[in-house]
Structure formats: structure tokens, C-alpha cells
């Protein structure tokens, strides 16, 4: 019932965006398309046909992107460099590695911070400062420095993902680990419970909703981090490399296909975390 009710508004928004996109293609591609439209004899029909069918458009029409994705996903073997699946896989592996490291780092920092006022005061400013540095500025340095000591490929990219995604996890988990109310904490005190018992039996379970909210943010920016990490390296694989190659050769359709693939991957990852959250909620007896 619920799905059905939401079906029409969702489709309407999608359709509106598509219409807007197709309309916008005409003036935005005018620079490249003008002479070709004239050559084809002008007129409304030619304007549409040319604007929506350019080889190297300023902005490709949606069906061009879909075609490119179809071709590079289903018509090429996935282990070939020209396959989009290959690039998705490369980016996904470094995203996941960075995400796991970032999660461990973020949770570890949060646990340290809530147990020590000193650490809270001394670490927090650095954690916040770390996120004010534009990642595009330091990504090449990280890649370069690590490359010079022999780390190339997966690890440097993952470190950039980790650098970006530990932050929401640390902040969210500090909030989550301190979320138990005073009575629940006093109860542990009356039992003379150790700090680690309080952590495992009270603080972590209470922090679960906060953790999952942070994980959703973190996994999306871990993907961004991996893509950014692929830009300055001259990497042969990955969605970032694919976008960069596309921009070198004016392959806007290829860039857009990679962009759409990236957002599809991000959405899937966030959705997967949502699924894990639901499973955990059921196991923790949440009110349905």
C-alpha cells in the first residue's frame, strides 16, 4: 500500500528532472551544436536531433549516458580496462578498505575521547581542523609522499577515504556513547561495573542508532575520497581515473557515465548500511 502511494510522486519528480535535463541540453550544447544544426538544414527537429546526439556534448542527454553505461557495463568483459565494472570495482575496494579503517579510527577516537577529558580537550581541535583542510589540496601530497616510500595503488587512496570518513563517525560516536541517561549510568555504578563493562553493555548498544547514521554519511564520503584519491595519481583504474581520462579527451559522456555510476554505487552502499541497521534493530528488540 505504502509503496503504491509513493509511486506517483516519485515518478513525477523523476520525469520532471528528465524533462528539465533534455530542455537544458539545447541551450547548453548550442555552442557546439549550432553549426551542425545549420549544416543539417535547421528547424526544430534537427535542433533536437543534433543537441541530443552530439559525440562530445557540453552536457549529454540522459539517453546518451544510459547507452554509454549499457555499452561499458554489459558489452565489455568486466576485467578489461574499458569496462565500467572494472573501474567501479577498483574504486569500491579502496572505498571499503578506507571505510573500514575510518570506522575503526573514528570509533577508537570516540572511545578515547569519552573516557578522558584531557583527550577530549587535546584531540577535538585537531579532529575538527583536519576536516577544514580541502582534501583536493592535500590528496596529491598524501599520494606523493606515500608513493615515495613505496606505497602505491590501493593503500594511499584508502587513506584518503579514511581521512574523510573517520570524522562523522568520531563525532557521531562521541554523541552516541554519551547518550545513556544518568540513571542507566548510575545503575552500572551501583553494580561497581568496570569501565569496559559499561562500554560494552551500555554505551555501545546505546550508541547503535548514532553509529548507523554516521556510517551512512561516512560510506558516501569514503567513496568521494577514493575518487578524489584517483585523480592526482595518474591511476589506470577507478571511477576517478575514468573521469580524468574523459576530461583529457573531451569524453563528456564517459565522465557523466562514471558520475552516474559513482552515485549509483554510493546510493547502494548507503542502502546496504540501512539494511544492516534494520537487521540490528530487529535483533535489539526495537519497536517495529
Amino acid at each position: 500500500m505504502k509503496t503504491k502511494r509513493h509511486f506517483i510522486p516519485v515518478l513525477t519528480i523523476c520525469a520532471a528532472i528528465l524533462v528539465l535535463w533534455y530542455v537544458a541540453c539545447i541551450p547548453m550544447n548550442a555552442v557546439v551544436a549550432e553549426t551542425k544544426i545549420t549544416a543539417a538544414g535547421g528547424g526544430f527537429a534537427n535542433t533536437l536531433a543534433v543537441s541530443w546526439g552530439l559525440d562530445r556534448p557540453v552536457i549529454p542527454a540522459p539517453h546518451q549516458i544510459v547507452t554509454e553505461i549499457w555499452n561499458s557495463v554489459f558489452l565489455i568483459a568486466p576485467w578489461k580496462v574499458k569496462s565500467l565494472v572494472f573501474h567501479i570495482w577498483v574504486t569500491l575496494t579502496s572505498t571499503m578498505l578506507g571505510f573500514v579503517m575510518g570506522t575503526l579510527l573514528g570509533v577508537g577516537l570516540a572511545v578515547a575521547i569519552i573516557h578522558s577529558k584531557l583527550l577530549n580537550k587535546s584531540l577535538m581541535p585537531w579532529i575538527i581542523a583536519s576536516q577544514t583542510i580541502p582534501i583536493l589540496a592535500i590528496a596529491p601530497m598524501i599520494i606523493g609522499v606515500l608513493g615515495s616510500v613505496g606505497f602505491t595503488g590501493l593503500v594511499p587512496k584508502s587513506l584518503i577515504s579514511m581521512y574523510l570518513c573517520f570524522f562523522p563517525i568520531a563525532i557521531g560516536m562521541v554523541k552516541g556513547l554519551t547518550s545513556p541517561d544518568p540513571m542507566q549510568l548510575d545503575l552500572m555504578r551501583t553494580y561497581n561495573a568496570s569501565a569496559s563493562q559499561v562500554l560494552w553493555k551500555l554505551r555501545f548498544p546505546a550508541a547503535m542508532p548514532f553509529l548507523f547514521t554516521s556510517l551512512k554519511v561516512a560510506i558516501a564520503i569514503a567513496l568521494t575520497g577514493a575518487i578524489v584519491g584517483e585523480l592526482p595519481t595518474g591511476a589506470q583504474g577507478g571511477l576517478g581515473a575514468r573521469m580524468l581520462a574523459g576530461s583529457y579527451y573531451g569524453q563528456t559522456i564517459q565522465i557523466w557515465a562514471a558520475l552516474v555510476a559513482a552515485s549509483f554505487v554510493a546510493a547502494s552502499l548507503v542502502y546496504a548500511i540501512g539494511g544492516m541497521e534494520r537487521v540490528v534493530n530487529v535483533r535489539m528488540g526495537a519497536r517495529p
Partner: protein, 258 residues
Amino acid sequence: MAQAVIEAKDLGLTFQTADGPVFALSKVDLSVEEGDFVSFIGPSGCGKTTLLRAIADLEKFTEGTLTVNGMMPEQARLARSYGYVFQAPALYPWRTVEANVGLPLEIMGIGDAASRIQRNLDLVNLSGFEKKFPWQLSGGMQQRVSIARALAFDPKLLLMDEPFGALDEIVRDKLNQQLLELWDRTKKTVVFVTHSIPEAVFLSTKIVVMSPRPGRIIDVIKTNFPRQRTLDIRETPEFLKIAQRVREGLKAGHAYED
């Protein structure tokens, strides 16, 4: 004579706040003997909860002496001498009823959990609800779970901070009756904070009347009702006389303010 379970002499507790010191407790003398059911009654701000928390070592007293089982409150807490029931059930929502009752057993590493959980759930008439989660129970049932949890590791002393304050009159009467039966059966020492006169008189062997600013004891009344009693005693002249005396005490304590 048996050793006092709780002994306070000249006890004082001052909170340092931004607006200056708050004298939460001042010159409190109190003795609770084994098997007693002692109620602290008084208006809000009279320090009755603070006194209970000081006994539990959840607050640190600042003057005088206080012993629990002959020990400093901190030692008594570290020795896990008491079970504490809070104003709200404070159940962990991700744990089932049995897992909540079993929590202190897990923390203290006490074996024999299943039978202890069963026995204490029986004691609060909640057998059959083991697998339920807290949100599936009414407020009164949740509070009974928290009582079972406080009893799970079999402490001799039970500290209860307005445990039935948030419940309606009918449920409260029933739980008072059950609590009294439980006290009679288990021979525990109970210290009970309340602001209800009938509740205090009905339950207690000793009523401690308190007054605010500074928090202090203004009257201690011993009652002499049989251990096994029913709600009917509330109609007896003796009950009404004690309730009257409590009321007078509370009124006298308030006179300072006007």
C-alpha cells in the same frame, strides 16, 4: 542488639554550585536496623533522594559520618551491598526482561543466572514475560522488572527512590501490597523514598520526616503494624493517627518558608 545496617551521625552534604553552596543535607542522624522498612518522606528539595544517593555512594557527603554495613559507603558500593531501584525503571531497551534482570549477574560474574532470574521474576509476579522487551510492558510491569533486577544478586539491602512515583494510584496500591509481601518473605532491609503519606505509613516500620532548606530530619516515627498487613489497615485509627503526625511534621517544616 543487631548492628545497624545504616548509621548516619551529623551527616551533611553541600553542593557547590555557580550560585553558591546548596545545603542539601544538614545534621542528619539516622539509624536503620536489619529488617527495617524505612521511608524518607518530605516535599521536593528536602534532600530525601540525596540522602538515599549518599547511602548508595552516588553522591559524596561532605560532613559527619555515614556507614553502610559498618563500612564507608564507597566500600559498601564496591562490595555490592545494596540493590537500587530508581524513580524510572531505567531498563536497557535492547535487552529482554530476563536479560535485564540478568544484567547485574553478568556484571558481577554470578553463575546460576537462569534460576535466579526465574526466582526473582516469580517474586514480582512476572513469570511468562521473560522474552518480552521493555516497550511491550506497562509502566508498572517495567518497574517490577527493575525491582527483580535489583534483587537478582540477592543484596540484603534494597534502596528505592520513589519507585512508584510515576504510576497511578490503583497500580501503586497493588505494588505497595506486593512490595510488602516481598519484604516479609525475603527479610530484606528496605529504605524507601516517597512523597506520599499513605504510602509511607502503610509500608514502613520507621518513617523519617524531612524538611527542605537545609535538608534535615524533623521527625522519626516508629509504627507497629503487623508484618503481614493489608490495605485495610489504612482505615484504622492507629494508621490515621500516624498519618496525622507525619502531616503535622511536614507542615511544621514548611512554616519556615512563609
